[in-house]
Amino acid sequence: MQTLEPYLAEHPFLKGLDPRHLNIIVGCASNVSFDAEQYILHEGEEAANFFIIHHGKVALEIFTSDRGPITIQTIGEGEVLGWSWLIPPYHWHYDARAIEPTSAIALDAKCLRAKCEEDHDLGYELLKRFAHVITQRLEATRLQLLDVYGVH
C-alpha cells in the first residue's frame, strides 16, 4: 500500500524535512477531498486540522452582514491551509470553501501538537515553516491594505 510519505516529502511546505520527523507527521495524516462549494472549515469552530493542498483551490472568506461572504485570499496546490491549530484557543478565524474540487492531506491537530510537545525539534521545525508562511501572508495582506490599484 502506498503511504502519504513520498507525497508529503515532495510538498513545498515539508520539502527537506528530516525523514524521522516526516515519519511522525505521516502518523497524523489522512487523505481528504472536498467538492466544489463545500465548506472545509467555519469561523469559530475548533481548528482540529490543518491541510496540505494537493490539488484544487480554496477560498478564505469573511462573512459581512452588508456584502455577504467576501473572499480575502485563495489557496491552491503546493500551499497550506490553516495555522489556528497552532495557537490557543485553536479556533478558526475565517471560513474556507473549496471553489474547485479539492484534494488535500489533513493533519490532525491534537495528534501533531502532542508529537511537537514530545519532540521539540519537530515543533521548532514546524514553527519555522509556519512562520515563513505567516510572514508571506502578512506581507500580502499589507499590500492588499494599501489598495495600490485604487485612485488616490
Partner: protein
C-alpha cells in the same frame, strides 16, 4: 507606409471612431486620422500626448496593436480634468494627438527567452501592445506568461481578450484580484503571490513589470527570490 505624425510638437487631429467601456471609470478610445493618412507607427510601450481642445493635454500609453497602426487605441481612467474631458467625448468628436514618445519594451531582446509579464491595475494597458507583439511572433519566444492583478473582478481590463488569451495553449494567463464576493471563482490575493505558482527558466527569462510602484517593487523581489536576475527586469516610466 506614410506616417501621420511628422512634427511631434504639433497636435494632429484624430477622430474618435469608437469608445469602449472597460470598467466603471476606464475606457478605451479608438482613434483614426481625420486626413485619411495611412499609419501611426509606434513601438510597444510608447505613449502619446492627447489634447482635448480648450481643456488641456495628458500623456496616455498606447494600448493597441503595433502591427495595426491605422487604428490608434488608448485606454484611460477618469482621474483628472483632461481624462474626464476625454471620456465625455463621443464617437465622431476630434482630439489632438502628439507622439509617439517614450522608450519601448525590449521585445526583440526577449527573443529566445521565457517572458513573464506582470501587470497591475491599469498597468495592463501599456502591456497589451507587448502581448500583441509576442503573439504575432509567437515562435520566437519560450514560455509567455501574463500575471495580472486588479482591485476587484469588476476592475479587470480587457475581459474578453483575457478569456481569449487564457484559452490559448501557447500562453499562460493568471489573474488575481485583491478581494471578491462569492461568485468569483478565480484567484484572490496580491499579484506577487502568483509568481511562485508558475514555472519558467529563471536564467533565461525576461520579466516586464507595469503597475503601481509598490507592486513593481515587491514583484521584482519575488522574481529575484525565484532566481531572475535584476538586469532582465524592465521598468517602464510611462505608467498612468
Amino acid at each position: 507606409m506614410k506616417s501621420i505624425i511628422t512634427e511631434p510638437m504639433i497636435p494632429k487631429p484624430f477622430r474618435i471612431h469608437r469608445k469602449l467601456k472597460e470598467t466603471h471609470d476606464t475606457y478605451t478610445i479608438e482613434l483614426e486620422s481625420t486626413n485619411g493618412a495611412d499609419g501611426f507607427p509606434f513601438s510597444a510601450g510608447q505613449f502619446n500626448m492627447l489634447y482635448v481642445f480648450g481643456v488641456g493635454e495628458v500623456p496616455i500609453s498606447i494600448s493597441g496593436d503595433p502591427s495595426m497602426p491605422k487604428m490608434l487605441r488608448h485606454t484611460t481612467r477618469s482621474v483628472g480634468t483632461v481624462t474626464k474631458a476625454i471620456l465625455k467625448l463621443r464617437s465622431g468628436d476630434v482630439l489632438g494627438v502628439r507622439g509617439p514618445f517614450g522608450s519601448h519594451w525590449p521585445v526583440n531582446e526577449a527573443v529566445g527567452n521565457d517572458v513573464v509579464i506582470v501587470a497591475g491595475g491599469i498597468g495592463l494597458a501599456p502591456m497589451r501592445p507587448v502581448l500583441y507583439s509576442f503573439i504575432s511572433h509567437r515562435d520566437k519566444y519560450g514560455k509567455i506568461i501574463l500575471l495580472y492583478g486588479a482591485r476587484t473582478p469588476e476592475d479587470l481590463l480587457y475581459k474578453k481578450e483575457l478569456e481569449q488569451w487564457r484559452g490559448r495553449f501557447d500562453l499562460e494567463v493568471k489573474v488575481i484580484v485583491d478581494s471578491a464576493t462569492g461568485s468569483w471563482r478565480g484567484n484572490v490575493g496580491v499579484v506577487t503571490t502568483l509568481i511562485p505558482r508558475i514555472q519558467f527558466d529563471p536564467l533565461h527569462t525576461v520579466a516586464m513589470i507595469c503597475g503601481p510602484e509598490v507592486m513593481m517593487r515587491y514583484t521584482l523581489k519575488e522574481l529575484q527570490n525565484c532566481g531572475v536576475k535584476k538586469k532582465t527586469s524592465m521598468f517602464p516610466w510611462n505608467v498612468i
